[in-house]
Amino acid sequence: MSLAEKKQETMARHPFIAQFIDHSNSRDADGLPQWWSESRTDALQRLVTLDVPGPKDEEWKFLNLKSLYNATYLSEGAAATEADEAFVKERSIPEAKAATLVFSNGRFKPAASNVDGLGEGVRVTSWSELREAGDLDAVRDHVGIADFWEDDLFYNLNGANFEDGAVILVPRETVVEVPIHLLYVSDGSGERFAAHPRNVIVAGENAEVTVIEEYATSVDGEYFHNVVDEISLGANAEVRHVKVQRDSKEAQHVARNIITLESNSNYEATAVNLGAAFSRNDSYARFDGSSIECTLDGLVYIGGTQVSDTHTAIDHALPDSTSYQLQKVIVDDRAHSIFNGKIFVREDAQRIDSNQLNQNLLLSRRARVNTKPQLEIFADDVVCSHGATVGQLQDDQLFYLMTRGMDEERARSLLTYAFAAEVLEDIEVDSLRTRLEGLLMEQTTRN
């Protein structure tokens, strides 16, 4: 069957996929380096063979994605807007003043961004800027770094469509002192659009960098963010990565994070998911060396009819490494949270220390939690454990606070706040942590 025929067939079966094939085909291929157009073609070829995942697929259990699949989207290029200046200012992070990249509806906005004096050889830029400068080869070796999601629909939708996103290259022996802020602002007032950012973060040997990746909405509305992050850590490198997802509560947010780690590197991630009608966050960390430390923490706080799904896979392919994971979830109203944390310890990957904890707090009678912590272990000299709890606030804790004169409402909000705040404690950017804590306090008191 020719590609055109296959496309016809896919079109008939899955208009959702077909529209993104169309988007891809209408993208400007002028001056695209060969490696990029090849990877685009690869993704397109896989797309025509794929089905939309649904509740029957183990990785997509419990999800009803009809509202995502049944919608039509404009390509982000057709939904271009300028970023709301006041809004950008409000969301800016003082520590990152000299290292902020602003994207509006998925497109880089140089005028709203500011990158200054980050040190020699450090590049904090975007795909569109690199393309304009004819310098795309700088990023070439850092895309397509793992084939974990080769058959994943959303990864390939991004592969066929991405045109923009952040590129952060920190050369070896370089420490970036200030945090880098990626601010994705969306304006949902126009027609429904889909954006496919591709963020690349590379820390060379002994390099150190902090990245804050934030999704925010200046005007609520329906749109679809389909993000892929590719993060590579060289030997002894250190990357702290905070993701804050506050997309519109009518929007859809899907993200795939790929992390590859070399010996002695240290990756610390905190993912805070508050927004979107439906959000799905997958992370895959591959250990390519030994003595690596990897932390994947997360906080999900949702209400209304929000659905949030987090899947993580920590892949200990080689011996002598450590991983930690703390995933805290609060669900209110009719919200539904799903968590699946996989820890693989491959054959001969001895002396692995891996610890995972998932705690869920249900605030409402109609909220729902699904969790599946999953261990797959093929080596014997390891210390691996996981725990999961689901429940409501403990009566004795409430009682204790109330004996101290606090009313029940106040006691509840304080305990809820404390439950969630543990995840935020490790965020080292003060203004961001304070802001998130404030947000949390506001949300817990509102209940």
Partner: protein, 478 residues
């Protein structure tokens, strides 16, 4: 010693193996006619034939499941003989005719002489004749009003109970193997405990005459009326050979108000040889429903045999304050694969469940725990505690945990924890330098690891099971 055991374990299907087709066997293969014939031979009432046919119709539309963490050659359902009349095993005159290696295993397990004879089908003296033992038991049970017989007998004698409960817990639509079982099940056990009766003894499949040969498609139904209690033992620690490769049993338990059922299993079927050749496929659907308030169902299993195990004894906790328990030891060695666990579905208020699972993998085996804890919106104040521990022996085996937790009630509390560990060289050294040999050392470490589960087993079972694990792991460490 251990080579003896190995030799013994390597023996392919010695017991009762015959190659010539029995007079009363069907041709291999399955169609509606096969099912009608099975039903006709057993002279079954219409409702049962209808049940079988509906199950068969449904089975045809289903596909063999492949979600479990096991890989094996799918059985060819046209090669299976779906009915053969119960065979008379050749009688032996004394234990001297039995392979000394087998006797040695019995010795180690501490199986009493009389039981050894029974297992090996040796003619026993009049007093201990299994028939008379069973008769005595039957009398006692009858006095208490407990019905314990084969399903076939029950269909004849108590059709209304069978009709009411058969398929009520595991409907024929439940899954591929349950559907197949519903269509072609041969026989099995039936237990009925009337209102307020505590069964005067533990019921064991040992003592059900003529049915010591576990059928390929066995079906067990246990009904406990209001306020009654029964403890049921299935299987035995002695190694069992069987000519059937595929076993697809269904077990249904019904506990009404205030009733309690305790179901214990020790499974030690042929696991295939060291290279993973042969062995039984054990695809079992076991489920109990706590229908009434304050009822309780407790599953305890020690799984050591079979090449591939696919088994999830479950509890549906419908009645308020009902309790479900699952205690499991699953041991895999060589090329064995086990995917086992439980489902606890909390429907009623203040329902409680406990899951304790101990997985031990050795050799190149794969051992998976797969469990579901579901809190339905009405499960006010429900509680679950799960603990899944894995032990790895050697660095070529795998241990996997797939716990699914689904909570829809904020007042329900669910706690799950899992860990992995191993038998360390230092631990072994410690034992050896105190003059305790390897075999005993492993046995002790494993006993400690599995303590919480063994506590739940009836006494004799517990003692044997402890030894059994030691034997199964011989030569795996060090």
């Amino acid at each position: 010693m251990s080579s003896n055991i190995e030799n013994f374990l390597d023996q392919p299907y010695e017991a009762g193996f015959t190659s010539d087709v029995e007079m009363d066997s069907f041709e291999p293969g399955i169609d509606e006619e096969t099912i009608r014939k099975i039903s006709a031979i057993k002279d079954e009432p219409q409702f049962l034939l209808d049940f079988r046919l509906k199950a068969f119709e449904h089975w045809k539309t289903m596909e063999e499941p492949d979600w479990a963490n096991v890989s094996y050659d799918k059985p060819n359902f046209d090669d299976i003989i779906y009915y053969s009349a119960p065979k008379e095993k050749p009688k032996k005159d004394s234990l001297d005719e039995v392979d000394p290696a087998i006797l040695e295993t019995y010795e180690k397990l501490g199986i009493p002489l009389q039981e050894q004879k029974m297992l090996q089908n040796v003619a026993v003296d009049a007093v201990f004749d299994s028939v008379s033992v069973a008769t005595t038991f039957k009398k006692q049970l009858a006095e208490a009003g407990v019905i314990f017989c084969s399903v076939n007998e029950a269909v004849e004698e108590y059709p209304e109970i069978v009709e009411k409960y058969l398929g009520s817990v595991v409907p024929y639509t439940d899954n591929f193997y349950a559907a197949l079982n519903s269509a072609v099940f041969s026989d099995g056990s039936f237990v009925y405990v009337p209102k307020g009766v505590t069964s005067p003894m533990e019921l064991s499949t040992y003592f059900r005459i003529n049915t010591q040969d576990t059928g390929q498609f066995e079906r067990t139904l246990i009904v406990c009326e209001e306020g009654s209690y029964v403890s049921y033992l299935e299987g035995c620690t002695a190694p069992q050979f069987d000519t059937n490769q595929l076993h697809a049993a269904v077990v249904e338990l019904v506990a009404l108000e205030d009733a309690e059922i305790k179901y214990s299993t020790v499974q030690n079927w042929y696991a295939g040889d060291e290279d993973g050749k042969g062995g039984i496929y054990n695809f079992v659907t076991k489920r109990g429903v706590c229908e009434g308030d304050n009822s309780k169902i407790s599953w305890t299993q020690v799984e050591t045999g079979s090449a591939v195990t696919w088994k999830y004894p479950s509890c549906i906790l419908k009645g308020d304050n009902s309790v479900g328990e699952f205690y499991s030891v699953a041991l895999t060695n060589h090329h064995q694969q086990a995917d086992t666990g439980t489902k606890m579905v909390h429907i009623g208020e203040n329902t409680k469940s406990t899951i304790i699972s101990k997985g031990i993998s050795a050799g190149v085996s794969q051992n998976s725990y797969r469990g579901l804890v579901k809190m339905m919106p009405g499960a006010e104040g429900a509680r679950n505690y799960s603990e899944c521990d894995s032990m790895l022996i050697g660095d070529r085996c795998g241990a996997h945990t797939f716990p699914y937790i689904d909570v829809r009630n904020p007042s329900a509390q669910v706690e799950h924890e899992a860990s992995t560990s191993r038998i360390g060289e230092d631990q072994m050294f410690y034992f050896l330098q105190r003059g305790i040999d390897e075999e005993d050392a492993i046995s002790m470490i494993i006993s400690g690891f599995c303590k919480d589960v063994f506590h739940e087993l009836p006494m004799e079972f517990a003692v044997e099971a402890r030894k059994l694990l030691g034997i199964k792991l011989e030569g795996s460490v060090g």
